[in-house]
């Protein structure tokens, strides 16, 4: 099935590529939106990732599942985006102590609504959002997160913990 789909895409069959897109777009869009912290940027990243997949499908050798290959491509693209955005931000904040401040919401003891959590994740500061998404949402361990983001394992832990505490404030849990 995968072999047929890949062969069809490589032969230029756009319908076959659409089938691939329909199967995986939600997962890729979700990863991109959460990593970028914005649905709009997530949509741009989705476009770029699938364009890249279309161009690179010839290099897919079938060593892994097609979905795994695509996810890895998407993850690398998101990480490139995050790195380049961070570099841009660092230019501005290099000499400033940019500890993020926020006003915690009033305490609420109701269950956390899914959309509230999505919005709160978007509000997380750069750095701790990516570590949180990779660890708590995507399920990578701290060693893997550290390798992916080019940071120390201890930094991955502290960023994830910082993100959870900020979410606690955003969600009115304190």
């Amino acid at each position: 099935m995968t072999v047929d789909l890949v062969a069809s895409i490589q032969a230029g069959d756009v319908d076959a590529f659409e089938a691939l897109y329909r199967q995986h777009s939600a997962k890729i869009y979700t990863l991109a939106s959460r990593m970028a912290g914005s649905p709009e940027d997530g949509e741009d990243l989705l476009q770029e990732i699938f364009l890249q997949a279309y161009r690179k499908i010839g290099s897919f050798k079938g060593d892994s599942a097609l979905g795994t290959w695509l996810y890895r491509l998407a993850l690398n693209h998101c990480l490139d985006y995050v790195r380049s955005r961070r570099a841009k931000m660092n230019k501005l904040t290099d000499t400033l102590d940019a500890e993020t401040s926020f006003e915690p919401a009033a305490r609420r003891d109701t269950p956390i609504a899914r959309m509230d959590l999505e919005r709160a994740v978007e509000r997380l500061p750069e750095g701790c959002r990516e570590a949180f998404v990779l660890h708590d949402v995507e399920g990578f361990d701290h060693k893997e997160v550290a390798d992916l983001l080019g940071i120390a394992e201890g930094t991955s832990k502290s960023q994830v913990f910082k993100a959870r505490l900020k979410l606690r404030g955003f969600l009115g849990k304190r």
Binding site: A26, Y54, L92, T95, L96, T100
Partner: protein, 258 residues
């Protein structure tokens, strides 16, 4: 003494060793505030584990499809040589597209290519404190950065405006393909977006360093480009006679209008 937040996070994760865990549990039995923190962390972890995938916007596939077809056509023309003409030369497309439909797709894809990869990232207010620390270096850096942000914003604005002009030209010329009700809805939505852009632009002019104003201006541009791209995609699907494709786009437009 309270355990530190790292220890409580590791406790909530279940990654503490047995001895440390026992110590934390002993503390939690007597400390309501730490107990509350651990309960909250567990709530957040539980809710995070239950997050579901997000649906990609409906317009994303038609945009991507246009870009792919454009790329294939470009590759085919390059292979065929410089005098291969403007007609569709890809055998897979022959007969299914008329020349003007291809032109429409190509033009929209060009605008897409111009916009994708070019993102303006406004600095979040939280990351750039309103009051910079004392010191000439920090002030000079912040001042230089503010100028650089303004320059970037102006460049982004010009870029988006060019893209919008290109799409508007296509959408205006070809709008007669749409049924009057859909055309009126699109027009109404465009007017709302134009109004928002105009207000955001005024806000940026009066307060150039305001991150919310910058963000709202860029989002206005993006919304307009998105709507114009949907319009072009819809016209194209109708010309191809692809009712399912057109219905998908109209349904996306309705969702956005709600």
């Amino acid at each position: 003494m309270h355990p530190n937040e790292t220890t409580l996070n590791e406790y909530a994760d279940g990654s503490l060793g047995a001895a440390e865990r026992a110590g934390v549990e002993q503390h939690l039995a007597a400390c309501a505030s730490c107990r509350q923190l651990v309960d909250d962390l567990r709530d957040i972890l539980r809710a995070t584990g239950e997050l579901e995938p997000l649906d990609a916007p409906v317009r994303a596939w038609p945009r991507l499809e246009r870009a792919i077809r454009m790329e294939r056509e470009h590759a085919t023309r390059v292979t065929a040589g410089p005098h291969s003409g403007d007609a569709v030369s890809d055998p897979a497309d022959a007969g299914s597209y008329r020349t003007y439909a291809t032109w429409l797709a190509a033009a929209a894809a060009l605008v897409l290519a111009a916009v994708v990869g070019m993102r303006y990232t406004p600095v979040r207010r939280a990351e750039a404190p309103a009051v910079a620390p004392a010191g000439a270096t920090a002030s000079a850096t912040a001042g230089g950065a503010a100028e650089s942000i303004e320059t970037e914003l102006r460049q982004a604005e010009a870029h988006y405006e060019n893209a919008i002009k290109g799409l508007e030209a296509i959408a205006t010329t070809e709008r007669s393909e749409l049924d009057p009700r859909t055309a009126a809805t699109l027009q109404k939505n465009l007017a709302v977006i134009d109004q928002a852009i105009s207000e955001s632009r005024a806000a940026v002019r009066s307060e150039p360093a305001s991150e919310p104003a910058q963000q709202s201006l860029i989002e206005g541009f993006k919304a307009k480009i998105g709507l114009l791209q949907d319009t072009v995609a819809l016209i194209n699907e109708m010309r191809k006679g692809n009712e399912a494709g057109a219905a998908r786009i109209v349904s996306g437009l309705k969702q956005k209008g709600n």
